[in-house]
């Protein structure tokens, strides 16, 4: 009787657990195993050559393309962490006050995050594209007499990566804004009221109440920004175009390319694990960093 009841209870989670094991847990462990092989993905897996940690050695010592893509993504992430998130923070501060139309602003700021990366990339490419030099940004620059700045923004190695980072920030700031705003609203009103009674000025209120109480939210946004931005690639495909987006290649694009074009499945898996480790380490460093900042202030 007891056993029947346990089995009955398990049937409730059976569909979820079943699908999850097959399509998440199995690939999760399979990636580690596969990373130790040299395999073209076509023949039988049993015919793959076991190479041990050779794939990882190759990544660390010889794959300059990979590290270049990591540093590209690192730069985009840096812009997202600084520019995008501070913009979001300022907007959240402004909208947390009783200001006219703040509900409308909130709705509008969250429009870019709900759009697909494919759409965002293609629309922005159309605005700053380099077809015949007839793009809006260049026309505006020419109109203003700033001819020396007119350029093919997305194929110029000096600007491509920064344009990608800016468009990425355009798509992402609304999301960070929303989380900051939700965080600001969890701070009890009494803190502000009593601070005002004691005559603290705006800066003191921010420094002693708003910021310290918001540190957990800031850490969270920072870590999610790192995880999201380091793994983003769809926006870059649709913005810059091409399978391997030249000066703006990012890690996931590399993994896709290694898997599809050079058919090295084991190596692609090793790259994935490498990126996973980088992400975990980077998140941990961010976590420590903001803890330190909070203690210093």
């Amino acid at each position: 009787m007891k056993l029947r009841q346990v089995l009955e209870d398990y049937t409730f989670i059976l569909p979820a657990v079943g699908i999850f094991i097959i399509f998440y847990i199995v690939p999760f462990f399979f990636i580690f195993r596969l990373s130790l092989f040299e395999w073209d993905g076509i023949g039988r897996l049993s015919s793959a050559t076991f190479v041990g940690l050779a794939n990882f050695k190759e990544i660390i010592f010889r794959d300059s393309n990979w590290w270049r893509s990591v540093s590209n993504a690192g730069w985009i992430t840096f812009i997202a962490l600084t520019f995008q998130n501070s913009l979001a923070f300022l907007l959240a501060l402004a909208c947390s006050k009783r200001i006219v139309l703040r509900g409308v602003y909130r709705i509008i700021f969250f429009i870019p995050p709900i759009l697909s990366e494919v759409v965002v990339g293609m629309v922005w490419r159309f605005i700053i594209n380099d077809v015949d030099g007839a793009n809006i940004v260049n026309q505006v620059l020419a109109y203003l007499g700033l001819h020396q700045f007119v350029r093919a923004w997305l194929s110029d190695p000096n600007t491509a990566l920064n344009v990608v980072a800016l468009v990425h920030s355009w798509k992402g700031f609304g999301w960070a804004f929303l989380i900051f705003l939700a965080g600001l609203q969890t701070i009890p009103r009494e803190f502000y009221e009593s601070a005002r009674v004691d005559g603290a000025n705006s800066w003191q209120v921010f420094k002693n109440i708003t910021f310290p109480l918001l540190v957990p939210v800031i850490i969270l946004v920072a870590i999610l920004t790192i995880l999201g931005t380091m793994q983003s690639f769809v926006l870059i495909i649709s913005l810059v175009g091409g399978e391997l987006a030249g000066y703006t290649s990012v890690p996931v694009l590399r993994i896709l390319w290694v898997m599809r074009n050079s058919s090295r499945f084991g190596y692609a898996c090793a790259l994935g694990i490498n990126l996973g480790i980088i992400l975990v380490v980077a998140s941990f460093i961010q976590y420590k960093f903001f803890k330190k900042v909070r203690d210093l202030i």
């Binding site: 097959i22 429009i111 015949d132 355009w170 009890p188 000025n201 996973g276």
Partner: protein, 321 residues
């Protein structure tokens, strides 16, 4: 005056003690902040409302950002009514004549009608399955007791937090082995799996708030657990059901990576994947591309404007605020 401020301080400490999640170190810092005398009495009293000039600057800032959010979308929509001849010469936002034939061509000749239906089919079936499967599991994790319950739940939650870049490589191999690659079923199952952890988490935490009496009454009436899930837990979880539905709808509709890995034949492709293929084939036909983008985006905007409260709630629940 003095009594007034004393009263406020008293209520402050009361509330302060109630707020248990504020750690003691933080408390000290807040109180230390209080002890400091205001450096400038002029700035001190007003908070952020520091005169009309400051407010105007804030509004200007908000307005500029808001316009930058909307302008590209307007540009996309209006460009879709232009022609290939005028699109690069006439840079005014609103075209002189609206060319609806772009839409006709995209939907019929370029097969976007097909891709649109594909996207609707994938989104509908994934969201429906997730709601059923995740609410069953959420109900079990919240209200039932079985061995290893917490362990299994923690594994689900862990999956939300551990980054797994490159997991599409083994997934591709696995789908090939199961003969599910390049099939709608394979795509749908992968998407269900991706949406499950967050959805289960949302259902579970919401059902934790369900009063025990509701369940007890039903049990006394002789309801089975399955009936309690269907007749009591699901209706109770309606608010979070909306969040799960909208959130997953946007997720599936906007998905690209798995569609890239799973599908080879155009026949099965969802919109996002088809867009990239389309651009590869018609590199510079911007009016058509913009029409296709508008068709892809319109449902998302409509859903967002109708249900934006659910989406906001989903985002904040996801990060635990």
């Amino acid at each position: 005056m003095e009594i007034n401020s004393w009263l406020k301080k008293y209520t402050f400490t009361l509330h302060h003690q109630k707020a248990k999640d504020v750690n003691p170190q933080m408390k000290r810092k807040i109180l230390k902040g209080h002890a400091q005398k205001p450096s400038s009495p002029f700035l001190g009293r007003a908070g952020l409302s520091r005169g009309a000039g400051f407010t105007a600057i804030i509004h200007l800032f908000l307005l500029v950002v808001a316009v930058s959010c909307i302008y590209p979308l307007l540009w996309m929509v209006f460009s879709s009514f232009k022609t290939q001849q005028t699109i690069f010469t006439n840079l005014s936002l609103i075209p002189e004549r609206f060319h609806f034939e772009n839409y006709y061509r995209v939907l019929t000749q370029e097969n976007f009608g097909r891709y649109f239906l594909n996207s609707i089919f994938y989104t509908g079936s994934v969201v429906f399955s997730i709601i059923i499967i995740a609410s069953l599991a959420g109900y079990a994790f919240s209200r039932l007791n079985f061995p290893a319950k917490n362990l299994i739940f923690i594994i689900f939650i862990g999956a939300m937090m551990i980054p797994t870049p490159g997991n599409f490589v083994p997934l591709y191999v696995l789908l090939n082995k199961l003969h599910l690659r390049n099939t709608p079923l394979g795509y749908i199952l992968c998407m269900i799996s991706g949406g499950l952890p967050l959805s289960i988490f949302l259902f579970k935490t919401f059902l934790d708030k369900m009063p025990q009496e509701l369940e007890d009454i039903a049990r006394i009436d002789g309801c089975s657990k399955l009936r309690i899930w269907w007749n009591i837990a699901l209706p109770f979880a309606k608010p979070i059901l909306g969040v799960v539905a909208i959130f997953n709808t946007l997720n599936v509709w906007n998905e690209y990576l798995l569609a890239l890995v799973v599908f080879d034949s155009k026949y099965f492709m969802p919109l996002q994947r088809a867009l990239v293929v389309f651009r590869g084939e018609h590199l510079t036909n911007y009016p058509l591309l913009m029409a296709a983008l508008t068709i892809t985006t319109l449902p998302v905007i409509v859903i967002y404007l109708l249900f934006q409260k659910y989406i906001v709630r989903g985002i904040t629940a996801e990060v635990g605020l």
